[in-house]
Each structure stands twice: as structure tokens, then as C-alpha cells.
């Protein structure tokens, strides 16, 4: 059974080998002419101001959490929307519509909770 995967492992080996070879080759034979602009953090951007090691409000994690919730929602909604015509053709359209409404309502409850608890208020 494992022998079915031999082509996969060969390709994996080639991919890893090739990337290491190219990296090493570039380091060995590439010209190295450093100057101030090239060594900057953003070569064609603005000059950085101060250190990046700064404190910032962990409130951002709430935004990140809400983002993940709605990201996952799309993962469910998209295949549902794509196959909805087939559900209608099979005659289960209203039921499937009800199920997805339930799903969205449950998500909305989370959003209502978050807003009421002040999760989106920055002071």
C-alpha cells in the first residue's frame, strides 16, 4: 500500500533537493554588492521609525477571533451556495435553506454577544 506513494515521495525529494540546491547556488555564485539602501528594512519603502518590539493592545485578538469565525462561515456558505440548485432540483430546497439560516443565526448570536460585551470598542 505504501508503494502507491513512491511517485509522491520522489517528487517530494526533488522539490526539497531543488529548492536547497538553488538557494545554495545563489549564495555561492551570486554577486554580493551591499550598500545602505539594499540593507534597509524596506528597500523601496519608507525608513522604519523606532523598534518593532513594542507593546500593543491585546484587544486585537478579539478582532482576529471574529474574523476567524466569519472566515469559517464562508467556508461553509460557499459550497452550500454552489450546490443549492441541486438541492432545489432534488426537492429539498426549503429544508436546506432553513438549515443554513439556523447556522447563520447561531453565528449572529456570537456577534451580538461580542458587540454587547464591548468586544469591538477600543478606548
Amino acid at each position: 500500500m505504501l508503494s502507491d506513494f513512491i511517485p509522491f515521495f520522489i517528487q517530494l525529494g526533488i522539490a526539497i533537493g531543488l529548492s536547497f540546491t538553488l538557494l545554495k547556488a545563489a549564495a555561492l555564485i551570486g554577486p554580493k554588492r551591499a550598500n545602505v539602501i539594499k540593507q534597509g528594512t524596506y528597500e523601496s519603502g519608507m525608513d522604519p521609525i523606532g523598534s518593532a518590539h513594542q507593546r500593543y493592545s491585546v484587544k486585537f485578538y478579539l478582532v482576529a477571533m471574529i474574523f476567524i469565525v466569519f472566515d469559517v462561515e464562508i467556508v461553509f456558505l460557499y459550497p452550500w451556495a454552489v450546490s443549492f440548485r441541486e438541492f432545489i432540483a432534488a426537492g429539498v430546497g426549503p429544508g436546506v435553506l432553513g438549515v443554513i439560516f439556523l447556522f447563520v443565526i447561531i453565528l449572529a448570536i456570537g456577534l451580538v454577544y461580542d458587540i454587547k460585551k464591548g468586544g469591538l470598542e477600543f478606548d
Partner: protein, 485 residues
């Protein structure tokens, strides 16, 4: 679909109540009605499951969940434990100043997970239930964020729990790869044709996941830390309801999906390790909650003795033992929760802080006497009947050595259970009074729960009708010897 919902009405009620509670709490923060909504929803579910106990067994949601029979029994235990936990939590959380509405919503969502787990008929349902339950319990363990001990225990519980979930999921994946099905009954075919390396590897990983959740040694390390840091009534909930649901799923998997005598020796070894480790380490505990945690590990070992017999009597005995275990531990954690109010001494939860409580608060003292005697297995209390129900099938199955070790382990356990009573009663009142802080009042609701647990322990210690009921959940005869290579 409506038929499925009617068949699993308790699940629907508790889920909807949980969602409603989140919205209600968002608009009315810390409202007095919040615990009432949670408690009444759990009570409604409990009544539904009790009514369903006598009804026919069936499946719902395309064979994903089972209804009636053992599923109804396990779910009734979970819901009953939830009701009592909510009642005990209200005064406790008010006392520690964290009576927030989310706690009750989380208890409801954790219960939903347990209901799915206890009624699962499919590995996917097991996994979804297990995770819903675990995630809520991680939060409940650590919701007193200001206490560093609470946060520490939550983090330990979360990291180890997530790790064990990995084992569990990998086991499911291997089993699916080996048999091409997630359904318990269909999986039996994998046993019948002997199974391959992949099949037995998957089963072993699945077992590791389950043994972690029921805190059997050597997967028990998280238990004392998690129970010590968690708010005491919540620790009682974790100790009783989550273990009951996990054992309920394990019993059904052993019975329906993997009926083979291969389990006898494996589970017997785990039972011995768990009983010995739990009881020996409990001997040296000075913290009452840690002591109860190690005792709960030992009790998981007793349940495993019943399972390792491989007889249906063992499975039904294990279910009965779980019921007794729920009642004893909810009561014991309830008493400890009340005594924690006893000033600084009490909040440290040390054994010495109990000195003289038997005289000062006779109700708590005598209730603790009943719980401790029942935990150590004295007749005529239910704990004795429970031990008989799990040890007798082991003897019938020829595992006499296992039953002997079990009885010896429970003899050892008597030392640390009775030591609690020694501290409570044998220290004279004057000697004790130096340790006592201001007097406190026992809330009527908590007292009612504790008295109810005491009464139930006496009632179930004197009647075998529940064992007859649980016997009816399984077809008679030995499962283990029917199949297997």
C-alpha cells in the same frame, strides 16, 4: 428531521437554552434569572431522559445518535449532575465574586457535548461531542482569570487535553482507513475478519484518548491540577458528568464496535494501574480537592474493572457505578465548596481546615460521613452496591486476581476517606475553634442538594432495581467470547 428532534428533545432544549442564555446575558449582565434558565432547561432535559428510560431504543439523525436505553441513562446522569452543579454554583460563585452569566451558558454547552458523547453511535459524533465538552470545560476551569492557580490549571488541562485529542483523532482516522466506516455496528466487521495492524493501531490510539478523558492512570496527570484550580462546584461537574459521558461512549464502543476478548487483559492492566496509583497517591494529599481528584482517578479504575470483564453484567454494572459515583462526588464536592467559605483556612482547602467542622456544622459533617463511607464502599450505602456490581462480573469472567486487587485498593482508600472524618470529628471543639474563622450560613439550596445526595445514596444502596434496569440495556450473555481471532 422533526422526528429526530423530538427523539433527542433534551439535546434540543439544552442547546436552545444555551443560545438563549448567551443573548440574554449580553443584554442583562449578571441577571438573577440566568442560573434559573440554565437549571430549568437542564431539569427539563433530565425529566425527558428519565421518561425515555423505559421507552424503546432507537437511533436519530441518520444513525448518528442513539436514543433510549443506555443513551438515555447516561444522558440522565449528565443532566442530573448539571442541575445539581448549577444549584451549587450560584452561592459559591457569588461568594468568590464571579457570578457571571457565561458560566451557566458554558455549563449548558458542555452538557450538550456530553449528551452527544453519551448518545453517540458514530465516531464522528463521539469526536464532536468530546470536543464541545472539552473546550467548554477548559474555559470553565480557568474563568477566574485573576487567580493564577486557576489560570495555571486551565492551561495545563488545555494543553494536555488538546494533545490527547490528537491521539483520539488519529485513532479515528486509522479506524476509518481500516474499515471504511465510522458507524459502530458496521465497524464490528473489522473485528470479525481479524483486523490488521492499522485497525488495532487505531483502536489503541482511540483507547488512549478515552483513558485520558476518564483520567485513568497513566493518563491522569492533568486531573489533580485541573480540579484544584477549578471552582469547586465546576470541579465536581468535571469529575462526574464529563467522566460519565466519556465512559458511556467507551462502554458502547466496546459493546457495539469492538466486541472481543482482546480487551480483557488490556483494560485489566489499566484498571490495576489506575486503582493502585489513584489510591496510593491520594494517601499523601493534604489538599482536600486534590485528594478527591486522586479518589476520582481510583474510581475510574473500579469502573474499568467492570469493563475488563467483557461481560454484559460488567457493562451494566459500570453504568450503575457511574450513577453512584455521580451522586457521591457531587455531594462531596458540594460540601467542600461550602467549607471553602470558612475564612482563610478554608480557602486553602487543606485537610486541617476541616477540623471540628463536624461539631460546628453538623449537617455538613454528617453528610460528609455518608459520602466518605460510600466512596470507600461501606454497606448499606450505594457505594458498596456499586463496587459489588463491577467486581462480581470480573470474578465471573475468571479475573479473580483483578477483583482481589480492587478490594485491596478500596481497603487502602478507606484510610484517606476516613481521615477526613477523623479531622472533622475527633479533634475537640476547643482544639478546633482556634482554627475557625467567622461562622457562615449554609444556603438552603446547597443544603437541599447535599441532603438529596445523602438520601439517594441510602435509597440506591438498598435496591437493586437500577442494576436490573441497566442490565436491560444489553443483550444477555457474554459479548467478549463471541468474536475475536
Amino acid at each position: 428531521m422533526w422526528g429526530d428532534m423530538a427523539a433527542t428533545l433534551s439535546l434540543v432544549i439544552v442547546s436552545l437554552a444555551g443560545l438563549a442564555l448567551v443573548v440574554f446575558d449580553a443584554f442583562n449582565n449578571r441577571h438573577v434569572a440566568t442560573p434559573w434558565i440554565a437549571g430549568l432547561a437542564l431539569l427539563a432535559g433530565f425529566i425527558f431522559e428519565i421518561v425515555g428510560l423505559g421507552g424503546p431504543e432507537g437511533t436519530a439523525y441518520s444513525d448518528m445518535l442513539r436514543t433510549g436505553g443506555s443513551a438515555a441513562f447516561v444522558n440522565a446522569l449528565v443532566l442530573g449532575s448539571g442541575v445539581l452543579t448549577v444549584i451549587l454554583s450560584v452561592p459559591y460563585l457569588k461568594k468568590i465574586g464571579h457570578n457571571i452569566g457565561e458560566v451557566y451558558a458554558l455549563i449548558l454547552f458542555a452538557t450538550v457535548g456530553m449528551l452527544v458523547l453519551g448518545a453517540a453511535n458514530n465516531l464522528i459524533a463521539v469526536f464532536v461531542g468530546l470536543e464541545t465538552m472539552s473546550i467548554c470545560l477548559y474555559i470553565l476551569t480557568g474563568f477566574v482569570r485573576s487567580e493564577s492557580g486557576s489560570a495555571e490549571s486551565a492551561l495545563k488541562y488545555f494543553l494536555l487535553g488538546a494533545f490527547s485529542t490528537g491521539f483520539f483523532l488519529y485513532g479515528i482516522a486509522l479506524l476509518y482507513g481500516a474499515t471504511g466506516t465510522m458507524d459502530f455496528s458496521a465497524m464490528k466487521a473489522g473485528v470479525e475478519d481479524g483486523g490488521g495492524v492499522m485497525f488495532w493501531g487505531g483502536v489503541s490510539l482511540l483507547l488512549v484518548g478515552f483513558l485520558f478523558k476518564v483520567s485513568a492512570a497513566p493518563f491522569h496527570m492533568w486531573t489533580p491540577d485541573a480540579y484544584q484550580g477549578a471552582p469547586t462546584p465546576i470541579a465536581g461537574f468535571m469529575a462526574t458528568a464529563s467522566k460519565t459521558a466519556a465512559f458511556g461512549a467507551l462502554i458502547i464502543i466496546l459493546y457495539k464496535a469492538l466486541p472481543t476478548e482482546r480487551w480483557t487483559d488490556v483494560l485489566a492492566v489499566f484498571a490495576v494501574i489506575t486503582m493502585v496509583v489513584g489510591n496510593i497517591i491520594a494517601l499523601s494529599q493534604q489538599n482536600v480537592k486534590r485528594m478527591l481528584a486522586y479518589s476520582s482517578i481510583a474510581h475510574a479504575g473500579y469502573v474499568l474493572v467492570g469493563l475488563s470483564s467483557g461481560l454484559v453484567e460488567g457493562y451494566s454494572g459500570a453504568l450503575f457505578y457511574l450513577m453512584v459515583y455521580v451522586i457521591m462526588n457531587i455531594g462531596a464536592f458540594g460540601v467542600v465548596a461550602l467549607l471553602e467559605w470558612d475564612g482563610k483556612e478554608g480557602s486553602e482547602q487543606t485537610l486541617d481546615s476541616l477540623a471540628g467542622v463536624g461539631y460546628r456544622k453538623p449537617l455538613l459533617g454528617w453528610a460528609m460521613v455518608v459520602f466518605m463511607f460510600s466512596l470507600s464502599g461501606f454497606p448499606p450505602l450505594a457505594g458498596f452496591l456499586g463496587k459489588w456490581a463491577v467486581f462480581a462480573p470480573a470474578v465471573d469472567a475468571g479475573l479473580v486476581w483483578l477483583a482481589i486487587i480492587g478490594v485491596l485498593a478500596s481497603a487502602v482508600s478507606a484510610y484517606y476517606y476516613l481521615r477526613v472524618l477523623v479531622v472533622m470529628f475527633m479533634k475537640t471543639e476547643t482544639e478546633a475553634s482556634s482554627k475557625l474563622a467567622d461562622s457562615f450560613t449554609i444556603p438552603r439550596s446547597s443544603a437541599a442538594v447535599i441532603v438529596l445526595c445523602v438520601i439517594l445514596l441510602f435509597v440506591f444502596g438498598l435496591t437493586t432495581s437500577v442494576i436490573e434496569l441497566t442490565d436491560g440495556f444489553f443483550q444477555s450473555g457474554s459479548v467478549a467470547t463471541v468474536l475475536g481471532p
